[in-house]
Amino acid sequence: MKKKKVKTRNLVLTLIVLALVIAYLAFLQANSMQHSYAITIVERSCIYAVAAVSMNLIIGFTGQFSLGTAGFMCIGAYVTGILTIPVDMRDQIYYLYGMAPWLHDVHLPLGVALIIAFALCAGIAYLIGWPILRLKSDYLAIATLGFSEIVRAVFGWDGLGPITNASYGVSNIPAFTSIFECVAICAVCIVIMGLLIHSSYGRAFKAIRDDDVAAEAMGINLFRTKELSFVISSAFAGVAGGLLAVFMRSAVTSTFTVALTYNILLMVVLGGIGSVSGSIIGAFLVTGSQEWLRFLDKEYYWSDLFKNLAGTAFGGMKVPLLRNGFRMVIFSILLMVVVLFWNHGITGSKEVTWDRFAAFFAGRKRKKTAQEAKK
């Protein structure tokens, strides 16, 4: 009886939050000119959330330290970009190399292009997973890192110019028709990964993470299970890359450097290794805070901050430290503080659920009453 009550409460709360989110998105969409800045932040955060959850799937849930995310995002971005740019603009974009004739008239809607990106990344991950998933921890990290750089080099190679436009990249990719398109695709991707993690396969992933010897003794095929996790993770990284290309309206190899992988790793660690909701929170927090801290990049005079100082000698001095790039200094310090005090990430390895919220508030109330009782 009580369990049922809690369940309905959770469902109602979830629906309310969902409705609020949709209402907020609709509000942004209705005044899209006015709120274009907010829209870009939301879209970028959502796309990074997909990448972060996909990375968490392999690192946080399966315990395999793979750093190939940027490489797969690069593949996904190019595939999506090449297949969706309008046919009549192609000659103009590929003016140097001339687009390969068999590809020239292939134009697909975004959804289909993303599915092809998904399938291609899955196939490539399957092939490279064969040799490299035998490696463990640091060695796997180096191998996947190498792979992601190779991908970048290959896509920037002149020989592939007729397909990838080499170092010029693919541009003029049609943008999202509305914020809903982007958010909905991201939500579907995250929900699918969440369901997989929640299933029997997810439990097998976690078993391998916690103790691979015991997992094997329990009849879990190490290689096949790792491969599954790697393939799914890479395929969704590809989709995230495709979405990123549409968001930026271009796909260039310089976007998909190792720094991008680290950025996503940061979201995963900050949010909580082994928590889907943590990765989403991490993605929004990292993307958002990099924007919110932008005021630190401007130079100020003291008189700008305190109007009554105007005209004095002190008012004419610059505020120390605030200058272009200072934002990243503060951002790094904030990161260190977060990692020091929440060293399991913001959510830890558990999911954020309504029950957890309830327990948190109930715990605080109990503490308070206990303190009052002591007095």
Binding site: L195, K206, D210, D211, V213, A215, A217, M218, G219, I220
Partner: protein, 282 residues
């Protein structure tokens, strides 16, 4: 004894690591429904034998049959051809090996000397994950919950097993938070969840007090009868071994030095010298 069906047959098993012969020419057999103990001083090669049987190591030489099928066979190859210091060098010619998960699928489940639970997961999930192997799902049906019937069956079976093992009150606990004896129990429950016909217990009584050891003895006999198991165990506690085992094999420095009924082995001077002689020193 000979009318009983043979379950495990180990022939001339030799395991050599580099120049060290960890196990030399070990032959043993376990029949259906028996409890057989493998004893020996520290470093005698007991766990190595276990690891060969459960597929962790591929034997250097020798053969292991399980329920009539060869699950592992090896002969010295490559560098080992020159280095090989064991016996029966040219008896075996084939190489057959299976990964531990394949062995488990065939019906040999095991526990570990140092408990290996999935510490951060709940007791329930620890047992549930062992059901993964026998499920007929695939990633697609599992993700989109098309296998909910199977999933429910797996969960029900897990509950039943936890109740049978008296662990149901701890179902939501993190495995690492359980007291030591319970962790041992949970490890056995998890092994049982794989649906084995043979259970290999690696020092199940390690770190237990005499009372817990007695409880464990009756527990092992109980699970053997309830799940129709054959049990092979490694143990140091002579009390436990003497009480429950039908037959005992004693090894020292990788060699079999004695075998037979508990009384016969216990009175064998070679065993006393190798095994109990060590105890006199401390």
């Amino acid at each position: 004894m000979s009318e009983k069906k043979n379950v495990l047959l180990v022939e001339h098993l030799t395991m050599q690591f580099g120049g060290v012969v960890a196990l030399n020419d070990l032959s043993l057999h376990v029949d259906e429904g028996e409890i057989v103990a493998l004893i020996g001083p520290n470093g005698a090669g007991k766990t190595t034998a276990f690891n060969c049987i459960t597929g962790v190591y591929a034997p250097t030489n020798g053969k292991i049959d399980f329920q009539g099928d060869t699950i592992a066979e090896g002969h010295p190859t490559g560098r080992m051809k020159k280095q090989y210091a064991g016996e029966n060098k040219d008896t075996y010619t084939k190489t057959i090996s299976h990964t531990p998960d394949e062995i488990t699928k065939r019906g040999i489940a095991r526990t570990f000397q140092n408990i290996r639970l999935f510490g951060s997961q709940t007791v329930f999930d620890n047992v549930l994950v062992a059901k993964h192997m026998r499920a007929k799902q695939n990633p697609f049906t599992a993700t989109f919950m098309l296998n909910h019937r199977e999933e429910k069956r797996m969960r029900d079976e897990t509950w039943q097993l936890l109740e049978e093992q008296n662990l149901q009150n701890y179902a939501d606990w993190e495995a690492s938070a359980l007291p030591y004896g319970m962790q041992r129990r949970l490890e056995i429950a998890r092994a049982l969840a794989t649906g084995p016909s043979m259970l290999c217990l690696d020092e199940p009584a390690a770190g237990m007090n005499p009372q817990e050891t007695d409880e464990l003895a009756s527990f092992i006999e109980e699970i053997r009868d309830r799940y129709h198991l054959t049990i092979l165990l490694i143990e140091h506690h002579m009390n436990l071994v003497m009480n429950i085992s039908d037959r005992i094999y004693c090894i020292d420095f990788g060699r079999l030095i004695s075998k037979g009924s508990p009384d016969a082995v216990a009175s064998d001077p070679k065993v006393i010298e190798a095994y109990l002689g060590v105890q006199q020193e401390d």
